[in-house]
Point group: C2
Chain length 341, copies 2
Amino acid sequence: MSGADAGAPGLRVTVSDVAAAAGVSRATATRALKGEGRFAPETQERILAEAERLGYVRNTMAAELAAGRTGTVGLMLRDASNPAYGLLFSRLQDEAHRRGLDLVTVTIGADVQGAEQVNALHRLLGMRVAGLIVATGGITAAQLEPFADQVPIVRAGRVETAERIHTAHYDDPEHGRMLASHVLSLGHRRVVVLSGAEDVSFAEHLRASAMQSTLVAGGASVTLVAAGAAPTDGVDEALDAVRDGATAVMCASDYRQLAVMRALRSAGLSVPGDVSVTGCDGILPGADLLGLTTLRIPVEAVAAAAVETMQLLLTSGSDAAETVRQPFVGTLAPGSTAAAI
Amino acid sequence: MSGADAGAPGLRVTVSDVAAAAGVSRATATRALKGEGRFAPETQERILAEAERLGYVRNTMAAELAAGRTGTVGLMLRDASNPAYGLLFSRLQDEAHRRGLDLVTVTIGADVQGAEQVNALHRLLGMRVAGLIVATGGITAAQLEPFADQVPIVRAGRVETAERIHTAHYDDPEHGRMLASHVLSLGHRRVVVLSGAEDVSFAEHLRASAMQSTLVAGGASVTLVAAGAAPTDGVDEALDAVRDGATAVMCASDYRQLAVMRALRSAGLSVPGDVSVTGCDGILPGADLLGLTTLRIPVEAVAAAAVETMQLLLTSGSDAAETVRQPFVGTLAPGSTAAAI
DNA sequence: CTGAAAGCGCTTACAG
DNA sequence: CTGAAAGCGCTTACAG
């Protein structure tokens, strides 16, 4: 029988059933079941035993409705097939679990911006979650803000400027600077910077901008390629620039770096012999075997801070609190794809 | 203010508020809001406008409690930091979205077996989900079975023998056979098979068993290393066997393959010059650049079948239905880490 | 220590 | 086409 049907044995067991079986009132059963309030130890024992015997599972929705509060925090996630998001998801879960926070997750559809995001947001709000952790750039501050005074919102991963929305985020500009400094220190002065356009990936945009200005300040000439969402977008332009004399290609993400290396390989160019290549993210398994020069983003720190902030907001009330805004810096992972000129 | 507080403006808006503002009864407001039942078009317009103006978001928990049914399907997920699970998660979401199924996800803690899984299960059941998709091997049939007649359960990824629990799973034994045949065809006759022990990863165990029997049937001698959960476990034994004359190391997962390749590299052995190495999973980004010889598991097909099966069970009632059990076979990805002897 | 009663926000027959 | 009423399963003051 479908879960939508009435009459399934197990899940139809209610507190009333348990109470009746134990010969007490629903009120007493409720108290004993959650171990709050006063009740005789032996009464509780009996109630617990009956609940166990009957296979009672508390109806969370009814419980929270009646209690007027919610124990779970909603997590909005971006497509987890991207390892960077998969790992962030995983760490957020771990951290929430460690702190005794229940997380319920919805992901937003693949369709860029629009109705889908709002729909996911409403599903979470409809569940009356106690808080919202947003781990996707796909949703804008404007979409979030209307709810910021109803529920604490913490953005994880991406920076946010809107008032009332807290963040634990990657310091993307600093990451761009670190990578650019490294490339400069290797002696490169003609560099291609390949990233997604601003509206495609804001993180990549931030990194790329910082790379560019650092490179220019360091005396290098820069060819900036603002590409589409697909990792292969813009790769051809990058190769053209290399044939034109650029000695390094800085990619704003590991995926673009992989795409560039594939293209270079099939073009018969060697890395780092003919050209140096850098990426950013550093969470690909096997990155070490490939020798990728990249920057490992601080996923663990961001996840921990996001959950910690949420817990703080939940327990202390967010009215008094300042908006929390915490940037985290990763570590440079020098590999063998970038070498001195 | 915290979400636990009463008195937040937006989320405190109820149907009663909307109804009052529109000058109708709660019953009428409900109907108009969901567009079911009879109501005057202009009445609906007015109600919708008021709802919009007041920022009404239906309380899903109350709605489903009152309606006596649930629209969402629960998904139990394993740690998404493993790309294979991250991708499966992503595809399950996409597929559910395409079919108009709402998914709510909980992940199980890192602690192997035990209370944690049961807790996650209860959280989902407590939400009175309409169905359960289980995408983790960490939970056993015995833990699932008690609920199988209360709610349709579909296992995604791993095979299941318990009655009443449907599956869409990887054909792991066949995958093992395919890889072993490939290695045999390359002329290898002394082979190491490296996998997690049966209780560590059942999938790896199935693959490894099939590899072993296929190899033996093909006239090869096999050294079987049943290792722990960490990818580096058992790598030393594998290397010993190589020094002892084995010409190929077959790993039951890509992670182990990476670990073996790292170890071989630091031991000064070349791949595939000194020894061939194979993996299994094939979902690592950059696997092509590494030239991994592996087998790409059919994540997309498994995800699609799991969701389709769930939808079927939900709409047609599972009482009449046979237990659905669908194995899917992946494709061999010959790379440059395995060569003819 | 325990129970009767009201109520959480919404829906659903059932009368109009 | 619309509303009054009962009820979903649980919790929480408030009396005992």
